[in-house]
Symmetry: C2
């Protein structure tokens, strides 16, 4: 018999630990490996032999861990060098795997992690080392190719949709309402900002406008649209992705605003504050509020999607099965087999194909004016945010368990 | 028979509509009034006859309204002028009440609303007008006197505690962790910031330091404390109230920072960014993140306290009962009758006593160093955040119902 190891990499999500638990439970049932090890802080930690035995942890602790947000095994932003020119790191890693009698390595992550899986699997093949390397997808950005969506995205979309409704209500209570701007993450793609279309009251979207990085940001049109809507409704609700750019490809968040606040400071703080400033400067109204959701959208387990948690669990379990079946150098992907009665199947994609590619929000799901999304987007998002998770509580707050602290 | 009217005022909370429903249900049972009217946008809207009949709304809609955050009847920031010198507004209001055959007026709000109740009840008495005026407390700030706590606060505290754990986990995943600063509301009092002491992992508080407006902010000591803790743990988690001030009484948020960001702007955006800047300027570390919770802490029904919702409902129901009993010019207050097996009773306080007073966070619940809170604070907060609400869903997001849109 032998062992396997799993580790996490890149930015955290609400459901990343669920994938680890899916794999653990898979082994509990099939027992293909004696032990499932956890590498703390990804490849970086494994190189330092920061390794724990997850198979020795009690079922109770694992049940809390499953519903704990953020990378409970720790994470890293470590990129392996090119194996052609730098074998040393690869050798060290293989030596450590050999010490622990490891026959399969699983990496939960995004683009960079799939690149790592790709490099390691090739290296192992070249050196005739019998270790399987399987990637498990995760990213709130939903920008991985060859998968219908990515675990972690559904929970982020649910948090964005929920807070969009709630902040819309909060910013609509007076007779003199102003303009509200909600900023989401999404440096390169608009999936997160677009998911705000889920937010509806009486079946009407709360957002007036949604701005995505996939559309060149035209300041003049923006001001015209906002002014008109404000004159019509005495309020405007705007959602914007942090990654919008102008026609020169410059991030709007990097343009200096000429507005100064009441203490004489130039204002900054992301796109939402830039938009706030130009709305005020152009005399539309002074009543403008801006809110950056920041890291809340990737760690809010208290508002996670149970569907997302389930799928994250399943991709972990499938990764395990594929490794046992002898696959390597691949990532588990999700196929949507039905949308109306939502269902998915799992498959494998070559990590070579995935690494360094980006899945953009489809142009055909953006309206002609470039300031909102189409019904297709709503239909795509809706099943991904289904159901609330059942959390354990302690001291009247969620009880979480991590292994990296 | 006759009618009564209820309206909402001031900043919204997650549970303010629950008080309206408590009162409605009270009348459904006792039937002391033919109709319960709702004044839209508080006194300001009532003066414009923006009045709806809540008794005609279906039970189903009311059940959604009960679990809807923010002021579902709309709100205002309207202060009645002094009745001694300006009777006109009072007369207009009494005339409208007469038109609608109103015998009791209920105002859900904070300090200013209690001042309104006080003025109106006195005016009615003076003019021999038989209308009862009862105040129903609400404020996330928890700063009303003569009540153990205020409906709305528990839900805000629960959101702060929950997001403190979750952002702590998110900001602790790398081997090189930095400093995280969470900014809460609380311009004058520290109740909200202090409630972050609820956030614990393995029964240990996640926050290293909590800074309240009740303690003079000493920048030198702050930097010394943070530097020491960072050297010890390689990470520091800080919670700060927006209202902290220096020894001259100046808000820290109004002090100009000399730091410029990578684009050459002076930075601003609340206390958390000021603290971030001085940590960087003083060379402690460059890895500092700051997050302002903003209005999320007062509208996050998806993370509300069910205990808070229940108490908000009960103060509405009690207000009704007190008006029927002939009381006027008073506010319903909450007494904590037991903490271990948490229980409360409801009573009345003269609004004259409450208006224009502030309940500060107790000095004796702050540690000697002035940078954290005592166990007494934790014990006080804990029962107020109990249980999650059971929300209705539509399109996989919470289904909310308001009457002001």
């Amino acid at each position: 018999m032998s062992n396997c190891i799993i580790a996490q990499s890149g930015g955290p999500t609400a459901v990343i630990n669920s994938s680890v638990v899916g794999l653990l439970k898979g082994n509990k049932k099939m027992k293909a490996f004696d032990n499932v090890y956890g590498g703390l802080n990804g490849i970086e930690g494994i190189l330092e032999r920061n390794i724990i035995n997850l198979s020795e942890i009690s079922d109770e602790e694992i049940s809390y861990f499953r519903f704990t947000p953020s990378s409970g095994l720790g994470s890293c932003r470590y990129k392996l060098k090119d194996p052609e020119t730098n074998e040393e790191e690869y050798d060290r890693l293989m030596k450590i795997f050999h010490e622990y009698d490891i026959k399969a390595f699983f990496y939960v992550g995004g683009n960079d992690s799939m690149d790592t899986i790709n490099k390691l699997s090739k290296y192992a093949k070249k050196k005739n080392i019998d270790i399987k390397f399987i990637g498990i997808p995760k990213t709130i950005d939903n920008d991985l190719m060859y998968t219908d969506h990515t675990p972690g995205f559904g929970s982020a979309a649910k948090f964005i949709g929920t807070t969009a409704i709630e902040t819309y209500l909060d910013s609509s209570v007076y007779t003199n309402n102003g303009i509200f701007i909600l900023e989401t993450m999404g440096r390169d793609t608009g999936w997160l900002a677009a998911s705000a279309c889920l937010a509806r009251i009486d079946n009407k979207p709360v957002a007036d406008f949604i701005y995505l990085p996939e559309v060149v940001f035209d300041e003049e049109k923006f001001l015209k649209d906002v002014r008109k809507r404000f004159e019509e409704n005495n309020k405007v609700y705007i959602v914007v992705s942090e990654g919008i750019r102008n026609k020169d490809g410059k991030f709007i968040s990097e343009i200096e605003s000429s507005t100064q606040d009441k203490f004489g400071h130039a204002q900054l703080g992301g796109v939402c504050n830039y938009l706030k400033n130009i709305i005020i400067e152009n005399g539309i109204t002074n009543r403008v509020k801006a809110l950056e959701l920041g890291i809340l959208q990737r760690c809010s387990m208290h508002c996670a999607s149970d569907m997302d948690l389930k799928e994250a669990y399943d991709v972990g379990k499938c990764a395990y099965q594929y490794a046992v079946d002898g696959e390597t150098g691949k990532m588990v992907a999700i196929n949507r087999t039905s949308n109306f009665l939502y269902d998915v199947s799992y498959t494998l994609v070559d990590t070579e194909k995935i690494a360094n590619q980006v899945k953009y929000f489809p142009k055909e799901w953006i309206n002609e004016e470039g300031n909102f999304v189409m019904q297709e987007a709503y239909d795509y998002f809706k099943p991904l945010i289904k159901n609330m998770p059942e959390l354990a509580f302690e001291g009247n707050l969620p009880k979480y368990k991590v292994f990296n602290l």
